[in-house]
Protein backbone atom coordinates (compact mmCIF):
# COMPACT_ATOMS: atom_id res chain seq x y z
CA UNK A 1 0.00 0.00 0.00
CA UNK A 2 1.17 3.47 -0.72
CA UNK A 3 2.27 5.61 2.19
CA UNK A 4 3.44 9.14 2.79
CA UNK A 5 6.03 10.09 5.36
CA UNK A 6 6.58 13.53 6.77
CA UNK A 7 9.48 12.93 9.12
CA UNK A 8 9.22 16.24 10.97
CA UNK A 9 6.26 16.61 13.29
CA UNK A 10 7.22 20.15 14.31
CA UNK A 11 9.56 22.66 12.73
CA UNK A 12 10.48 26.06 14.16
CA UNK A 13 11.85 28.70 11.83
CA UNK A 14 12.70 32.35 12.37
CA UNK A 15 10.74 34.88 10.38
CA UNK A 16 12.64 35.68 7.20
CA UNK A 17 14.58 32.43 7.22
CA UNK A 18 14.28 29.76 4.55
CA UNK A 19 12.10 26.68 4.97
CA UNK A 20 12.13 23.13 3.74
CA UNK A 21 9.49 20.58 4.70
CA UNK A 22 10.22 17.00 3.81
CA UNK A 23 7.92 14.45 2.22
CA UNK A 24 8.68 10.94 1.06
CA UNK A 25 6.27 8.51 -0.52
CA UNK A 26 6.32 4.81 -0.94
CA UNK A 27 4.92 3.68 -4.22
CA UNK A 28 6.29 1.93 -7.28
CA UNK A 29 5.08 4.38 -9.89
CA UNK A 30 4.98 8.14 -9.86
CA UNK A 31 1.79 9.27 -8.21
CA UNK A 32 0.13 12.64 -8.28
CA UNK A 33 1.69 14.72 -5.50
CA UNK A 34 0.19 17.54 -3.50
CA UNK A 35 0.98 19.91 -0.67
CA UNK A 36 -1.87 21.35 1.37
CA UNK A 37 -1.80 23.92 4.16
CA UNK A 38 -4.20 24.14 7.07
CA UNK A 39 -4.42 27.30 9.14
CA UNK A 40 -5.78 26.94 12.68
CA UNK A 41 -9.46 26.06 12.68
CA UNK A 42 -9.64 25.95 8.91
CA UNK A 43 -9.95 23.38 6.17
CA UNK A 44 -7.14 22.43 3.82
CA UNK A 45 -5.98 24.70 1.05
CA UNK A 46 -3.97 23.46 -1.90
CA UNK A 47 -0.51 25.00 -2.13
CA UNK A 48 0.74 23.18 -5.21
CA UNK A 49 0.64 19.93 -7.11
CA UNK A 50 2.81 17.80 -9.37
CA UNK A 51 1.45 15.51 -12.05
CA UNK A 52 4.21 15.39 -14.68
CA UNK A 53 6.70 17.54 -16.54
CA UNK A 54 8.99 20.06 -14.88
CA UNK A 55 10.01 18.63 -11.52
CA UNK A 56 10.12 22.04 -9.85
CA UNK A 57 6.63 23.36 -9.34
CA UNK A 58 5.52 26.74 -8.12
CA UNK A 59 2.57 27.26 -5.87
CA UNK A 60 0.70 29.96 -4.08
CA UNK A 61 2.08 32.15 -1.28
CA UNK A 62 5.63 31.89 -2.59
CA UNK A 63 6.01 28.15 -2.05
CA UNK A 64 7.68 25.71 -4.40
CA UNK A 65 8.32 21.98 -4.34
CA UNK A 66 10.72 19.70 -6.13
CA UNK A 67 9.92 16.17 -7.18
CA UNK A 68 12.91 13.83 -7.06
CA UNK A 69 12.07 10.45 -8.48
CA UNK A 70 15.31 8.81 -7.34
CA UNK A 71 14.58 9.77 -3.74
CA UNK A 72 10.79 9.36 -3.89
CA UNK A 73 10.57 12.82 -2.39
CA UNK A 74 8.51 15.94 -2.87
CA UNK A 75 9.93 18.54 -0.52
CA UNK A 76 8.28 21.90 0.00
CA UNK A 77 10.40 25.05 0.16
CA UNK A 78 10.07 28.75 0.72
CA UNK A 79 13.01 31.16 0.59
CA UNK A 80 11.75 33.52 3.29
CA UNK A 81 8.92 32.69 5.68
CA UNK A 82 6.42 35.13 7.09
CA UNK A 83 4.62 34.92 10.42
CA UNK A 84 1.41 34.13 8.50
CA UNK A 85 2.97 30.89 7.26
CA UNK A 86 2.53 29.33 10.69
CA UNK A 87 0.19 26.41 10.03
CA UNK A 88 -0.02 22.67 9.56
CA UNK A 89 1.33 21.35 6.26
CA UNK A 90 0.27 18.10 4.68
CA UNK A 91 1.84 16.19 1.84
CA UNK A 92 -0.50 13.90 -0.08
CA UNK A 93 -0.32 11.43 -2.93
CA UNK A 94 -2.87 10.01 -5.27
CA UNK A 95 -2.54 6.83 -7.20
CA UNK A 96 -2.36 7.60 -10.91
CA UNK A 97 -5.40 6.18 -12.59
CA UNK A 98 -6.98 5.35 -9.26
CA UNK A 99 -10.69 5.08 -9.61
CA UNK A 100 -11.67 6.84 -6.46
CA UNK A 101 -9.30 9.78 -6.57
CA UNK A 102 -8.72 9.37 -2.87
CA UNK A 103 -5.64 10.92 -1.36
CA UNK A 104 -3.20 9.38 1.08
CA UNK A 105 -1.94 12.01 3.48
CA UNK A 106 1.17 12.29 5.57
CA UNK A 107 0.66 12.99 9.25
CA UNK A 108 1.51 16.62 8.85
CA UNK A 109 4.25 19.04 9.88
CA UNK A 110 3.41 21.81 12.30
CA UNK A 111 5.31 24.96 11.36
CA UNK A 112 6.10 27.48 14.08
CA UNK A 113 7.47 30.90 13.17
CA UNK A 114 9.68 32.69 15.67
CA UNK A 115 9.78 36.48 15.58
Amino acid sequence: AQSVTQPDIHITVSEGASLELRCNYSYGATPYLFWYVQSPGQGLQLLLKYFSGDTLVQGIKGFEAEFKRSQSSFNLRKPSVHWSDAAEYFCAVRLFGGGADGLTFGKGTHLIIQP
Partner: protein, 113 residues
Protein backbone atom coordinates in the same frame (compact mmCIF):
# COMPACT_ATOMS: atom_id res chain seq x y z
CA UNK B 1 -14.45 29.56 -6.94
CA UNK B 2 -15.23 26.06 -5.85
CA UNK B 3 -17.08 25.99 -2.61
CA UNK B 4 -17.44 23.08 -0.23
CA UNK B 5 -19.67 23.93 2.69
CA UNK B 6 -19.96 21.98 5.90
CA UNK B 7 -23.11 22.89 7.74
CA UNK B 8 -21.62 23.11 11.23
CA UNK B 9 -18.22 24.33 12.42
CA UNK B 10 -18.70 22.98 15.94
CA UNK B 11 -20.98 20.30 17.33
CA UNK B 12 -21.37 18.92 20.82
CA UNK B 13 -23.29 15.68 21.17
CA UNK B 14 -23.87 13.07 23.84
CA UNK B 15 -22.84 9.45 23.73
CA UNK B 16 -25.43 7.35 21.93
CA UNK B 17 -26.92 10.20 19.92
CA UNK B 18 -27.38 9.91 16.16
CA UNK B 19 -25.29 12.60 14.49
CA UNK B 20 -25.51 13.96 10.96
CA UNK B 21 -22.68 15.92 9.38
CA UNK B 22 -23.65 17.61 6.16
CA UNK B 23 -21.50 18.66 3.23
CA UNK B 24 -22.53 20.49 0.07
CA UNK B 25 -20.42 21.35 -2.97
CA UNK B 26 -21.39 23.71 -5.74
CA UNK B 27 -19.15 22.53 -8.59
CA UNK B 28 -21.02 19.48 -9.85
CA UNK B 29 -18.18 17.20 -8.73
CA UNK B 30 -18.89 13.51 -8.94
CA UNK B 31 -16.55 12.34 -6.18
CA UNK B 32 -16.89 13.35 -2.57
CA UNK B 33 -15.03 12.26 0.54
CA UNK B 34 -15.22 12.29 4.31
CA UNK B 35 -12.02 12.34 6.34
CA UNK B 36 -11.37 12.56 10.04
CA UNK B 37 -8.37 14.42 11.35
CA UNK B 38 -6.69 13.65 14.66
CA UNK B 39 -3.46 15.05 16.09
CA UNK B 40 -0.49 12.94 15.12
CA UNK B 41 -2.55 10.80 12.77
CA UNK B 42 -3.17 13.21 9.91
CA UNK B 43 -6.24 12.72 7.76
CA UNK B 44 -7.82 9.33 7.42
CA UNK B 45 -10.46 8.46 4.86
CA UNK B 46 -13.78 7.29 6.28
CA UNK B 47 -15.98 6.94 3.21
CA UNK B 48 -16.17 8.23 -0.31
CA UNK B 49 -18.79 8.42 -3.01
CA UNK B 50 -18.27 8.49 -6.75
CA UNK B 51 -21.86 9.06 -7.76
CA UNK B 52 -25.33 9.55 -6.39
CA UNK B 53 -26.32 6.62 -4.18
CA UNK B 54 -22.87 5.08 -4.62
CA UNK B 55 -20.48 4.76 -1.71
CA UNK B 56 -17.30 2.96 -0.82
CA UNK B 57 -15.59 2.36 2.50
CA UNK B 58 -12.35 4.10 3.15
CA UNK B 59 -9.71 3.17 5.69
CA UNK B 60 -11.74 3.65 8.89
CA UNK B 61 -15.46 3.16 8.18
CA UNK B 62 -16.39 1.44 11.44
CA UNK B 63 -19.04 3.33 13.36
CA UNK B 64 -19.97 5.52 10.39
CA UNK B 65 -22.32 5.46 7.44
CA UNK B 66 -22.95 7.89 4.60
CA UNK B 67 -25.72 9.06 2.35
CA UNK B 68 -25.57 10.61 -1.11
CA UNK B 69 -29.08 11.23 -2.38
CA UNK B 70 -28.14 14.24 -4.50
CA UNK B 71 -24.93 14.92 -6.36
CA UNK B 72 -24.10 18.06 -4.43
CA UNK B 73 -24.68 16.67 -0.93
CA UNK B 74 -22.76 14.04 0.99
CA UNK B 75 -23.74 13.26 4.55
CA UNK B 76 -21.77 11.45 7.23
CA UNK B 77 -23.82 9.66 9.85
CA UNK B 78 -22.78 8.49 13.27
CA UNK B 79 -25.50 6.03 14.19
CA UNK B 80 -24.62 6.02 17.87
CA UNK B 81 -21.94 8.51 18.74
CA UNK B 82 -19.12 7.45 21.02
CA UNK B 83 -16.43 9.46 22.76
CA UNK B 84 -13.73 8.03 20.48
CA UNK B 85 -15.46 9.76 17.58
CA UNK B 86 -14.57 13.15 18.99
CA UNK B 87 -12.55 14.62 16.16
CA UNK B 88 -12.32 17.11 13.32
CA UNK B 89 -14.26 15.96 10.26
CA UNK B 90 -13.37 17.24 6.82
CA UNK B 91 -15.39 16.89 3.65
CA UNK B 92 -13.85 17.16 0.20
CA UNK B 93 -14.91 16.98 -3.40
CA UNK B 94 -12.71 16.42 -6.39
CA UNK B 95 -12.47 17.89 -9.82
CA UNK B 96 -11.84 14.89 -12.03
CA UNK B 97 -10.93 17.00 -14.99
CA UNK B 98 -7.46 18.20 -15.74
CA UNK B 99 -6.63 19.37 -12.25
CA UNK B 100 -7.68 16.37 -10.13
CA UNK B 101 -7.63 18.65 -7.13
CA UNK B 102 -9.51 17.90 -3.94
CA UNK B 103 -11.32 20.88 -2.47
CA UNK B 104 -11.98 20.87 1.25
CA UNK B 105 -14.62 22.33 3.49
CA UNK B 106 -13.68 24.25 6.63
CA UNK B 107 -14.28 21.23 8.83
CA UNK B 108 -16.65 20.29 11.64
CA UNK B 109 -15.18 19.86 15.08
CA UNK B 110 -17.31 17.27 16.85
CA UNK B 111 -17.16 16.67 20.57
CA UNK B 112 -18.96 13.63 21.96
CA UNK B 113 -19.47 13.80 25.71
Amino acid sequence: DVKVTQSSRYLVKRTGEKVFLECVQDMDHENMFWYRQDPGLGLRLIYFSYDVKMKEKGDIPEGYSVSREKKERFSLILESASTNQTSMYLCASVDRGVSNIQYFGAGTRLSVL
